[in-house]
Amino acid sequence: MIGRLFDEVPRRGLVLLAGLLVVLLAAPWIANDYLLTVLIIVLYFAYTGQAWNVMMGFAGQLSLGHAIYVGLGGYAAAALYVHFGIGPWLGLAAAIAIAMACGAIIGFLAFRFGVGGVYFAILTIAFAEFARIGFDHFRWVGASSGFFLPVANYTRNDLWNLRGNPTMFYYVMLALTIAAFALCHVLLKSRVGYYWQAIREDEVAARSLGIDTFRYKMYAVVLSAGMTAVAGVFFAFYYNNLFPEQVFHISRSIELILGPIIGGIGTLFGPLIGAFLLTGLSEAMQELLTALGFDAPGAKQVFYGLCLLAVVMALPGGVWPWLAAKLGVNGRRS
C-alpha cells in the first residue's frame, strides 16, 4: 500500500518531497518565533486549500462559502470546551459531524434540485452568510461580541487539551497538512477520485458511464466540509477567540481558495505551493513596507489581487503545473 502510494511519482519528485519534509520538520529549530507563526499560517492555508480542492479541484464543485465549515468546526469544539469541559480531540469529532451535516444539507439542496455552476457557488455564499448572521445573535457562544477560550500561561505543552506554545501548534498543523496531502493522494488514485474527475470534466458523460453523480458529488462536499472543520478547531484553539464577523466573513472564504487557485486547482501540490507563495510573499512585503516606514492598510489585499491577476494571465493552470515541468517531476516513472 505504502509502496503503491508513490508508484507514479518520479524519483526526483520523491527526493524533493523528502527534502521539503525534512525542512518542515526542522523548522522550529531554525526559525525564530515570528517566522514560526508565519509558517503556522502557511500550513493552515495549505491544509484548508487542500480540503477545498477536494470539492472544486477534484469534483468541480465551486464553493465560495467554505468559511462556514471553519466557523462551525471552531465554534462547536470551543463551545464544548468552554461550556462542558470537553477536550478538543473529542470536540473535533462533534465539529466534523456538524460540518459534514451542514455540507450534506447544502449538497442535497443543490444537487437534488439541479443547482449547479454559478448558482451552486451563490448557494454556498448564502449559507455562510446565514451562519454569520445567525452566530451574531447566538448568545450561548457570545453572539457578536465574540467567544473566548480561557488563556493562561502554560509552562508545558498539553497536547490533549491543545494548550501550549507555537511549536506544538506548528507540529499539529504540519501533521494535519501531511495527513490531508496523503489522503488526497490516495483518493485521487482510487475509484472515487477518478469518478470525481469525470464529473468535473463532463457530468453528462460521467452519468452515461454509470456514475451516480449525485452520490459522488455528495461525497466530495461532505468530505471537504469535514476536513475544513478540523482546521476550524485548530483555529479556535490557536487564536482563542472567535467572532462571527471575522470567522464567517466571505473574505475568509476567498482567502482560503486563493492558495489552491494560484498553486494549481486539482493538483496535490497546488494548495501547498499557493499557501507558501501567498502568505510568504505578503508577509515579506508587509515587513518591507514597515521597514521602509510606510503604513499601508489594505496592502495585503491589493497584493493578493495582483498575485491572482499575474497567475491568471501568465499561468492559467496555476504555478505547480509549470513548476513541475521545470523541475522535471511531472509524468510517470517509465
Binding site: 475509484r191 470534466e201 453528462v204 452515461s208
Partner: protein, 242 residues
Amino acid sequence: MTALLAVDGVGKRFRGLLAVDNVSFRVAQGAIFAVIGPNGAGKTTLFNIIAGTFAPDRGSIAFAGERIDGLAPDEICRRGIGRTFQLVRPFPGLSVEDNVLIGAMLRRHDPTAARRRAHEVLLRLDLFGKRHQPASALTLPDRKRLEVARALATDPKLLLLDEVMAGLRPAETDRMVSVLTELNRGSGLTILLIEHVMRAVMALAGRVLVLHHGAAIAEGPPEAVVREPAVVQSYLGAEAVE
C-alpha cells in the same frame, strides 16, 4: 433468438413537435440493428429515450426482460447499456487511458484490474499508442473511437452508437466497421446504431429501421429496406439506389 431490447409504442413530444411518434421495434440478442432517417427524423431523441436522457411520454422499453423506460442514465448504464454521443464528449483534461479507465471502473472497483481492462479496450480501438495524450489533443476520428472505447469498457450487453462514422474517411469507416463486426461476432455484443453513412449500415446491420418525422416508415433487412419506395423518396433519393 430472444429480444434483448423491446421498444413498444414509444412517443415523445417537445411542446408542439412530435419528435418520436409511436415507434416499436425489437433488437435480438447478438444482432446489429441500425436506425436511419433524414436529419430531424427523431433518431437521436429515440436514442436518448433508450439511454435515459429523456423519459418517454408514452410507450415502454424493456431491456433483458425488465422495464427501463424512465430510469436515470447512470442506472441504465449499470443495467448493461453503453452509449456514445453524437457530439463527442470525452473528458478533455484527462488522458486517453484515464477516460477509458473510468468506464472500466463500473464493473471493476480495483484500479489495477480496471486499468488492465482499459488497456485491452484501447488496443482493440487502436488507441493504445496514444493512451498518455490528453483526450483534448485527439483528432475527431480518434475522439469517436475514444467514445466507443469508453462505452465498451463498461462491459455493456447492448452498445448504442450515435453516428460514430460521421466525419470519418472511408478507410477509417472500414476500420470501425471491422472493429464493430469483431466485437459482435467475437463477444456477442448487441449493437444498436444510428448512422448516416449507408456504406457502414449496409456492411454492418442485419436489420434496419427507417424513421421519418418521428414515425417508423420501414423495417427489415437493409437490402430490402433501401428498395422501398417510401424510404427512397423520404431519405435516400432516387439516385442512391441506382
